[in-house]
């Protein structure tokens, strides 16, 4: 049989068992090299369609930024209010018939209690003078024959008492004192505010869950379209002997990149918004004589944001791949 010059100078290719000549270490190495290659090439694929990639990343970013931003704002409010809670005071209204001397000795006793740092005595006369000055009912008070106001002991609890449980224990003890008519926590509203913040945080969590579902759908749908656009390629690689894992891999990495880009977008959005709010918030707190500064995204929150973005991206693509890759078989 005649052989052309081109053919005869080449080496014959012999059939051989695949990979037997390779050392196990080389194969593991090749496995990681392949993963790295897929990781980079899937990023390259996204890079080639920058507009649609950016839009998908932006959708994920906005969906992540909403709950994350809400969380950061609520954390700030909580931090601010916890400062107020430390300055919570307890007012003890003393019964009318208790003598001044008795009240003074009671004040001294209370100063020795655990959980009380300071006791300030306001006599009935002082209370009346203060009320007259602040309320503007001076004339009405003049018509009264008797001072209607009780004497008050103002207690400053220690910081350890700021916790609701120990605060209510302290209140209970104070109420059992004979001379005391009423014991009232002045900062009740701080607790209510905390209650509102808790409601807000729970809402942020629920909103976050809903938006996480939305991200799953967005990534899943995007990956689904990519799968169908690359249908031919999938069929060819299946015919060449690619396992399902091999075919799945680039799509999963694409989901990973979408998630990561979305999370970074969200981080930038939240940081940007907080940056824009920082100056007006500082001005506002200056008006209230406060040193409060708006806190940004801390390390833990940032890490959580990145992780949830990546995990949602992976999960979304996993769902799409699981549903749609099986359907593509060579015919």
């Amino acid at each position: 049989m005649k052989r052309s010059a081109r053919k005869s100078r080449t080496r014959p290719i012999k059939p051989e068992a695949r990979g037997k000549s390779q050392k196990p270490r080389g194969r593991i190495n090749a496995y990681f090299t392949h993963h790295l290659w897929v990781l980079v090439s899937s990023l390259g694929q996204l890079w080639r369609t920058p507009l649609s990639t950016l839009m998908t990343a932006a959708v994920i970013g906005i969906a992540l930024a909403l709950p994350a931003g809400l969380h950061v704002l609520l954390s700030n409010v909580q931090q601010l209010s916890s400062g107020w809670e430390g300055s919570a005071q307890v007012s003890l209204f003393i019964k009318q018939d208790v003598s001044e001397k008795h009240i003074q000795s009671l004040a001294n006793t209370l100063r020795d209690w655990d959980g009380v740092t300071e006791v300030h005595y306001i006599s009935r006369e002082q209370a009346l003078a203060e009320f007259r000055e602040l309320s503007g009912f001076g004339d009405a008070l003049d018509s009264l024959t008797e001072n209607p106001l009780p004497a008050v002991l103002v207690l400053q609890p220690t910081l350890a008492q700021a916790e609701p449980a120990s605060m209510s224990r302290l209140l209970e003890r104070l109420r059992q004192l004979d001379a005391v008519d009423q014991a009232q926590l002045d900062m009740e509203w701080v607790r209510r505010l905390n209650g509102i913040i808790d409601v807000g945080k729970r809402s942020a969590l629920l909103l976050g869950t809903l938006l996480a579902l939305a991200i799953l759908l967005v990534v899943g749908n995007t990956i689904r379209l990519t799968i169908y656009a690359r249908r031919e390629e999938i069929i060819i690689t299946k015919l060449i002997g690619a396992t399902n894992a091999f075919i799945r891999r680039p799509f999963l990495y694409t989901g990973f990149w979408y998630g990561l880009m979305g999370a970074v977008t969200a981080w930038l959005l939240v940081s940007g918004f907080l940056g824009l709010l920082r100056t007006p918030v500082s001005q506002l707190s200056f008006l209230y004589d406060s040193q409060f500064r708006l806190g940004g995204l801390d390390f833990i929150t940032s890490l959580f944001l990145l992780l949830s973005g990546v995990l949602l991206g992976l999960a979304g693509s996993w769902l799409a791949v699981g549903r749609h890759l099986q359907a593509i078989e060579p015919t």
Partner: protein, 228 residues
């Protein structure tokens, strides 16, 4: 290498593409499969590559019973078979090199090994200098040769081809057939489906003829020249 044992293939809807087909192609043998369109050539090749499964009877590849092969093992069977398609089936967004490298990457070869083998396969089909080109810039014959390089790059013991010269002129077709013969000479079993009687009558290999889903003749390609 390929053994069919009374194989039937019936498609959903009742069309019987193959009925009672039995033959045995030895390891290292080269054979042609011919017959009119719809005679069952493609169905037969699909059964070998497990694109379809037989309705009745058994198919053995390299001693392996395909009817017992689980779906997750199919990829590993396909790695033992190099397939050349009528339409080249190359990935258009990748270079010639990357297309030929694909079977090796799928099988998990080390990059240095991949480069060496891809160059050897491209050299074999005479396209070593076109490795950076994209398939779309190549002629039909060159594209088909890239397809062949991809089919043989991981040195499979069996090579299947479905109308590999379907779109090529006689001169190029002869060249392609020469390539297949060369692979066969170094021990690769080759099965080629074709209806190009002119071309194969000038060669001397086994010839299986299908007609209406039945194997009607099992002889030599040289007989075609006599009858023509």
């Amino acid at each position: 290498m390929i053994q069919f044992d009374n194989v039937n293939k019936r498609y959903p809807g009742g069309h019987e593409a193959l009925s009672g087909v039995s033959f045995h192609i030895q390891s290292g043998e080269m054979a042609f499969l011919t017959g009119h369109s719809g005679a069952g050539k493609s169905s037969l090749l699909k059964l070998i590559a497990l694109i379809e499964r037989s309705s009745r009877g058994q198919v053995f590849i390299d001693g392996q019973n395909l009817s017992r092969l689980k779906s997750r093992h199919i990829p590993y069977l396909r790695r033992k078979i190099g397939i050349v398609f009528q339409s080249h089936s190359l990935l258009l967004d990748r270079t010639v090199f990357d297309n030929v490298a694909l079977p090796l990457i799928i099988a998990g070869y080390h990059p240095s090994e991949v480069g060496r083998r891809v160059r050897a396969a491209l050299d074999k089909v005479g396209l070593l200098n076109r490795d950076k080109a994209y398939p779309i810039t190549l002629s039909g014959g060159e594209q088909q040769r890239v397809g062949i390089a991809r089919a043989v790059v991981n040195r499979p013991p069996l090579l299947l081809a479905d109308e590999p010269t379907g779109n090529l002129d006689p001169e190029l077709s002869k060249e392609i057939m020469g390539l297949f013969e060369e692979f066969n000479r170094v021990g690769v079993s080759v099965l080629i489906a074709t209806h190009d009687h002119d071309l194969i009558s000038r060669l001397d290999h086994r010839l299986l003829t299908l007609s209406g889903g039945r194997l009607t003749h099992d002889g030599r390609t040289t007989e075609l020249a006599v009858s023509a």
